[in-house]
């Protein structure tokens, strides 16, 4: 009897643990919405999202986050241009070409790259990459969209590589064998069979890499320059949403318009990354069905 109770107890404990994430998520959403809503009595939603001036501490303050949204968009898009070829390329190499010994070295190395703290990437970007770009392209200043994209791209590469590699691994052996049996060579098998079969898994990898890039804070705070303008070229300094929140939250008086505006920025950011994750989940579900995997 006691043993039975103990078992029940443990079962309950694990159920509670499993649901705790849900509690946290709900809590975060509630707090974000509650703290963000008051700002919309000061500015309208279109003026907030589309306004081009972000002067939260001026008199009167202006809360237009369009430059911040565009900044996040451009640096993430730039990062994608770097991490997708690098990440997917590494995954393909690891899966198709690398021998056992290379894999044994490369896979852990890529994973270590993922565990480097973001402030180290930021420091690298600020002290080495930005001055280098500044000299190379004769820029007024090296802290800009380009330098931020490069650093974010490198940061997101291991995420993409590791998930894409897993996706390739899920393609059943039989697919490859069937393709060879039909007389296809390795290249044809790779491009016509393996990549399409793993395609949605690879898309998931790309989308998760993107949400990693768009949510990154410390690096963009250090490397992006912080100017709240809609960038007109990749050499302009920018102020992504995360950087604005991080730089300003500490000094915004609790309960002020500025404070609520920052929560609204956070809410916008949350909605974007949440949407990315849902899309990734939907795609990967479709992919499992397509392959007849019931993992």
């Amino acid at each position: 009897m006691i043993k039975r109770n103990k078992e029940k107890g443990i079962e309950w404990l694990f159920t509670a643990l499993a649901f705790s994430s849900l509690v946290f998520l709900t809590g975060i959403v509630i707090v974000l919405v509650k703290e963000a809503l008051p700002i919309f009595s000061t500015v309208s939603l279109p003026a907030f999202l589309g306004g081009e001036s972000w002067y939260p501490t001026a008199e009167p303050p202006e809360f237009g986050i369009f430059p911040l949204i565009m900044a996040s968009f451009w640096v993430s898009a730039g990062a994608m241009l770097i991490c997708v070829p690098l990440g997917v390329g590494s995954a393909l190499y690891l899966h198709e070409l690398a021998g056992e010994r290379q894999r044994a070295v490369l896979k852990p190395v890529i994973e270590v790259l993922a565990s480097v703290p973001s402030i180290i990437y930021g420091f690298f970007g600020m002290v080495i990459l930005a001055p280098f770009l500044q000299d190379r392209f004769n820029l007024p200043i090296g802290l800009c969209v380009l330098s931020t994209s490069i650093v974010l791209g490198v940061m997101a590469t291991p995420t993409v590589a590791s998930i894409a590699e897993d996706a390739l691994g899920y393609v059943p052996r039989s697919f490859r064998e069937a393709s060879f049996a039909l007389g296809a060579n390795r290249w044809e098998t790779l491009t016509r069979v393996i990549i399409p079969a793993a395609g949605s898994g690879i898309s998931t990898a790309v989308i998760l890499g993107m949400s990693r890039a768009i949510g990154e804070t410390m690096t963009v705070l250090m490397v992006a320059g912080g100017a709240a303008v809609v960038p007109s070229s990749i050499f302009d300094p920018v102020r992504p949403m995360t950087a604005a929140i991080a730089a300003e939250m500490g000094e915004a008086p609790v309960g002020s318009d500025h404070y609520h505006a920052l929560f609204a920025v956070a809410l916008a950011l949350f909605i974007v990354t949440f949407a990315f994750n849902i899309i990734a989940e939907l795609i990967s579900r479709r992919y499992r069905l397509k392959l007849g995997l019931s993992r």
């Binding site: 501490t57 500044q134 007024p140 200043i141 912080g226 709240a228 730089a247 500490g250 000094e251």
Partner: protein, 268 residues
């Protein structure tokens, strides 16, 4: 049981007394290093004192002084009328103590030939899209404006002293610290920035404003236009440990620390 409760209660009340008299100082990050050093030194001699220092910014410091959440509110700007009104509503009379002077020095890259600007020119560079150093007698180089992030006291002081509360141009590079401004200006030939006098170093070039170079003397004599007093505010006349601490900061030992931290001490 009752006995235990009593003992606990007595202990509870006695503990703070044993730990000494608590003084909470909160506010300006500009004043933070001064307050911190001063508190350390002060507590070495005053064994009873228990001083805790928090940053948060000038506005936060004054707000929590009004709310009674701190004993001393540090501020790098004079208190505003609205804040005085709120304090009055709560029956508090705010008293100002100037503890040091701060000069905001405009800095450029050492290779820049411009040696000085007028306040009007500074304002023009910071608020309009003035693009080239040529316009100001310098090299043919794009101007890169570096500013402190909008939340700090230094940003506010610069805004009031130089920009007449006009907004900094949106394409200005924003840095979270004095150090950050110095390091960007030091490696960017076209950059201009502003920092506290104490952060001047050989890696950047200070320029004169209205023909006056920033220095201890010009700040103290009130000749240098971009300077400001740094305040410690108290609610009413300071008493006890609060009074002792403020007197320590304004006294010779405190003022020595002010100098060491790169600010301008009040006398000599």
């Amino acid at each position: 049981m009752k006995k235990i409760m009593t003992i606990l209660l007595v202990l509870g009340f006695a503990a703070p007394a044993l730990a000494g008299q608590k003084v909470v100082v909160e506010g300006s990050t500009t004043l933070l290093p001064i307050a911190q050093k001063a508190a350390e030194e002060f507590m070495k001699t005053e064994k009873d004192a228990d001083i805790s220092i928090r940053g948060g910014g000038s506005g936060v410091g004054i707000a929590s002084l009004i709310d009674g959440a701190c004993d001393i509110g540090d501020s790098s700007r004079p208190i505003k009328q609205g804040e005085l009104d709120r304090a009055a509503k709560r029956g508090r009379k705010i008293k100002a103590h100037i503890v040091a002077m701060d000069g905001l020095s405009s800095i450029v890259h050492p290779s820049n030939t411009v040696g000085g600007l007028t306040k009007e020119q500074l304002k023009k560079i910071y608020t309009t899209r003035a693009a080239n150093w040529k316009e100001f007698g310098g090299p043919d180089l794009k101007i890169v404006v570096v500013s402190r992030d909008s939340a700090g006291g230094t940003f506010e002081a610069f805004g009031e002293l130089v920009l007449n509360k006009k907004n900094v141009r949106p394409d200005a590079i924003m840095q979270a610290s004095n150090q950050g401004v110095v390091s960007i200006v030091a490696r960017t030939p076209g950059a201009i920035g502003y920092v506290g006098l104490g952060y001047l170093s050989a890696s950047v070039k200070a320029i004169s404003v209205n023909g006056v170079m920033p220095s201890r003397e010009t700040v103290l004599r009130g000749k240098y236009p971009v300077s400001r007093p740094l305040f410690m505010y108290t609610a009413g006349e300071p008493e006890g440990m609060v009074k002792k601490f403020i007197e320590f900061v304004k006294g010779p030992e405190g003022q020595k620390l002010v100098e060491e931290e790169g600010f301008v001490s009040l006398k000599k």
